[in-house]
Symmetry: C2
Amino acid sequence: MQETDAYKKYADALIAEGLFLPTGVKGVFGFNAHFQQIIDHLEALITRIGKPLNPEVVRFPPVWSRAHYGCTDHLRTFPNLLGSVHSFTGDDAQHNTLLQKFEKKEDWGAGLLSTDLVLTPAACYPLYPTAKGTLPEGGRTVDISNYVFRHEPSDDPARMQIFRMHEFVRLGTPTEALAHRDDWLQRGLELLLSLGLNCAAVVANDPFFGKANRLMKATQKEQELKYEIVCPICSDENPTAITSSNYHLDHFSLTFDIKTSDGHIAHTACIGFGIERITLALFKTHGLNSNKWPEKVRKILVLP
Amino acid sequence: MQETDAYKKYADALIAEGLFLPTGVKGVFGFNAHFQQIIDHLEALITRIGKPLNPEVVRFPPVWSRAHYGCTDHLRTFPNLLGSVHSFTGDDAQHNTLLQKFEKKEDWGAGLLSTDLVLTPAACYPLYPTAKGTLPEGGRTVDISNYVFRHEPSDDPARMQIFRMHEFVRLGTPTEALAHRDDWLQRGLELLLSLGLNCAAVVANDPFFGKANRLMKATQKEQELKYEIVCPICSDENPTAITSSNYHLDHFSLTFDIKTSDGHIAHTACIGFGIERITLALFKTHGLNSNKWPEKVRKILVLP
């Protein structure tokens, strides 16, 4: 209850300040120039931090192949978060039926057909099918930033249904993947602390769906495969994950047949910066007027 | 047939050069650093061109409220282009049923439920419900750039299912809206000609769906409500619309109750630059290596 109040209070403040434009749907907002400016400068900062590693830059759109989606275990583990894209492919008569449903305020969406697309569930997913085959010697390091979708309507302004995830992904040997995860966890934490955010790294697990997947949460945590960098936004007791760093072992490489240059199955790891969440943490921590943020923070973000 | 060959040839060249990463779905591609750099510089250029008008900057995500969508006539006029977002909201037992469908390779998407969201059909649509009420004196000019979705799988690399649309929208009196449309048509044409694109402005109509809407095409053309700036990409005979400039009369203002400061129903107009299409026109016109583009073009785009 108290948290719900805190969510509402922060969302209302963001709306009153004009930073958020409500769309009438929970967790979906427009942004004004001020909010968007922080997003843009944060994206540029994260790109700069990664530059010394000389990553390839790859960008994917907010939708992804349903066939590739079906190769992952997302439908098994996070069906509730999925965004499946449907459309109308009928003729004039079927169109009339659709419009009649609509007029009667029935669920007109139910008659639509599945397209070849789903909304991208995580920024790095679309990369793996394109990496099928043998990696170059030394593997690959990739800078990715995409919109990702999670169907979890919430009053928490930091828990959006669609948001930008800026990732650095490593594909290589187990040693290379694990080192990437650990180095980036440190690098990410230093970056976020330098921005004045009161954050910390914690072992975490994904919110796997249903009873059948309960064991996966425990195993993931026990094996320390996932770390999150958490920061209080609307609650000190339940800080928000603003970044996460994951070691996938051979999970994606087995699915999409990715091998190291010496013919072994590859391992992968990634760090993902939640751009809107970090932006919301900055506004919460330093106030709703970025002109008044600490000079040090403004300088790191290269705000004009 | 010849055009299909030309589509394939250009798409293959883009893939061979690494500019496009195929996703296995028609009209959905990843981009490499080189392609993305042109997109970023083009977006910045368009923002600069609009700066003297001192527009508000507003950004919306790739998804939009289903309820607001239902207020428009999109389902009546372009149902075939719609992207409706569906998800799973059931329990463990229903999840099992879903997975069984999936295992049997049935259309598992058919069992999902409509969410509160659709993919954004046009960049300016999400703006109108937020503008409900009375406009300030002199109206509003808004700089918008969003992803938009159109379910039209095509072999034409310039006809993507999801792409960026950078718009300048005017909400005001009929005179203000019409002047915006005409001024921007001129400004847009000059900009695109300055980039060395062999383009021209033509009266156009939207591809309204079905027999019932045939008359709308003719009326729209007759009233000269829509202009497109077209440029040959894969075909000289059928150049591609890379920008469009529209006068909506009171269409959106009646739907979303937008009034001028003196209490009349507002009129709206917009120009929309198709970012990926312009980028593809540039690569087609000047070659696949932007380092070798004409110095004048590189300078206007501020390429490093």
